[in-house]
Subunit: 318 residues, 2 copies
């Protein structure tokens, strides 16, 4: 019997199912982006590859065996109240890690080297060097220290930054001071000049980047006020708290790639905040070829009994 795969991919660069058909020529595909797919018999579907599937869609696939997320995060799947209790596979890929490390390092350096102030000086035709504290004087704290966070830390260590990390469980990474659990969160924050969040969105991380967290960050760093960088999920941040801290100087700067509502509404006051760098959820984009190869590889593992990899732990939510 032909294996049937449901694709519900949303992302612009993944809307075409061509790469999937090429990677798994023996399979049959239902591309939910096609109008006629709505008539398809979902009981045939054995695997689903999804980003933010409409609630109930996966539940209608009565013979589904596994769910593949298009990204490293899976909150877009858990938001379905009728989600069937099946294995969920995350997409962890160098093609995703590389761009994320680039984005995080770019934002750290733009903040540390005060690029936004130099941009303003350029617009004003103004020549003038700004004070430049050296990298070892900045303590970077990464929240969410899995594969992506560790790859970012590796590259940031090369510049000589002092590195801290906070996660659910202790992590032993050379050169990085590890904090874990709620008990150590305030100590971690008090030793952080530049906070980088790569947290998944769970109940515990919803709204975690709020006024209380911001006020707990170090105030004795090179700029006298801390910096917040979020490449995790917009649901982890309270944007009104970040904005008021940027306005009254409790935050020196911020870089956000993710937002409470995406796309960020055109009338959001965030756009015009000069010490806030905004990118449109563009830090890391799943590569269609790599995603299709990953799904093909995991399906092969599942079918020949080697088992699926990068499975989500439902109790943790990521």
């Amino acid at each position: 019997m032909t294996t049937t795969i449901l694709l519900d991919l949303k992302w612009e660069n993944l809307k075409s199912d061509r790469t999937f058909r090429q990677a798994m020529p023996e399979c049959q595909f239902i591309n939910w982006a096609d109008a006629e797919s709505k008539k398809a018999d979902l009981s045939q579907v054995k695997y689903a590859v999804v980003w933010g599937p409409e609630p109930g869609l996966l539940g209608r696939c009565s013979n589904l065996e596994a769910i593949f997320s298009v990204g490293a995060g899976v909150d877009h799947i858990f938001s379905d109240p009728d989600l069937p209790n099946l294995p969920i596979v995350r997409f962890v890929d160098p093609m995703l890690t590389g761009p994320m490390v680039e984005w995080v390092v770019l934002q750290v350096l733009m903040q540390v080297r005060q690029q936004r102030r130099y941009d303003q000086q350029q617009r004003d035709h103004q020549w003038g060097e700004l004070p430049q504290p050296s990298a070892p004087k900045f303590r970077i704290g990464i929240m969410g220290f899995g594969e992506l966070g560790q790859a970012c830390a590796q590259q940031l260590l090369g510049f000589g930054f002092a590195m801290n990390a906070w996660s659910n469980s202790p992590k032993d990474v050379e050169g990085v001071t590890s904090y874990f659990g709620n008990d150590q969160l305030s100590e971690f924050l008090a030793n952080t000049d530049i906070l980088v969040s790569l947290l998944p969105l769970t109940q515990a991380t919803t709204g975690i980047i709020n006024q209380q967290l911001i006020d707990g960050l170090a105030k004795d760093g090179p700029f006298g006020a801390p910096i917040v960088i979020n490449a995790g999920r917009g649901g982890s941040q309270v944007e009104s708290d970040i904005l008021s801290a940027l306005q009254d100087g409790r935050l020196h700067g911020a870089s956000l790639d993710v937002f409470e509502t995406e796309p960020l509404p055109a009338n959001s006051p965030l756009w015009d905040q000069p010490n806030l760098i905004i990118t449109p959820h563009a830090a890391a984009m799943s590569d269609p070829d790599a995603l299709a190869a990953h799904v093909a590889n995991q399906i092969a593992r599942h079918e020949d009994g080697r088992g699926l990899e990068n499975l989500v732990d439902r109790s943790l939510g990521y």
Copy 2:
């Protein structure tokens, strides 16, 4: 006899001689920034620490034994036609290398990740992801592959960029394809999507970044047109050639920290070119403490016969 040291430091952050007096309390100092120093007896001066000394000043120090440059470059010393034939010591220091690596990586990432277009989108309150070629698709070529260039290459390799280098002599650095000499320059350029110049200013490098060089760069890279980044010396670039290439699309973008005339005149058309990132010779600033410690250390080596380090080769001009 007390050792007398002449300081002619120019840079804002070095104008005070306090760190030198602290590092060498047994020495006497003539700070050329002080008006009264002009009356001092220069025949006492044994060592001079300078940035762009006025022509003839060093020649008047009849008992001078060594000249210390405030930076890694020494063209600001060679421009003196009456320069005495004495050892010249360059300032090579991690405090200088680190900021330079930061600046080069920042500019590479801003160009590769199209940060200037995202900045414009932010000003326009516009949400939209731009195409994002992966790092291995970009070939970065570093011109001038000494200590600074190799430190930059090391950090850029961590992102997965393809690395080339061009210098006077072949350099064996793992992961970097080495080109050298005039014979291999055109091959190097044809394999370079992002040119990073860290060249010292010599007769051979004056005006080397001109229309001919730009037209020799690769045109088959991810953006279809190359990028030029210069953190070496402004005298190595022909700004009118860079500007016209940015305007007609032969260059996709550029980042310049150095200029033919510094400060860059307020009426220069460069300021308003949107795909050109300008910083005010701020890539790396000598740290006063590190500079004073370096000079004290080299003087101690010279006095006890261990010999000076990081000496300039006059035949090469750097």
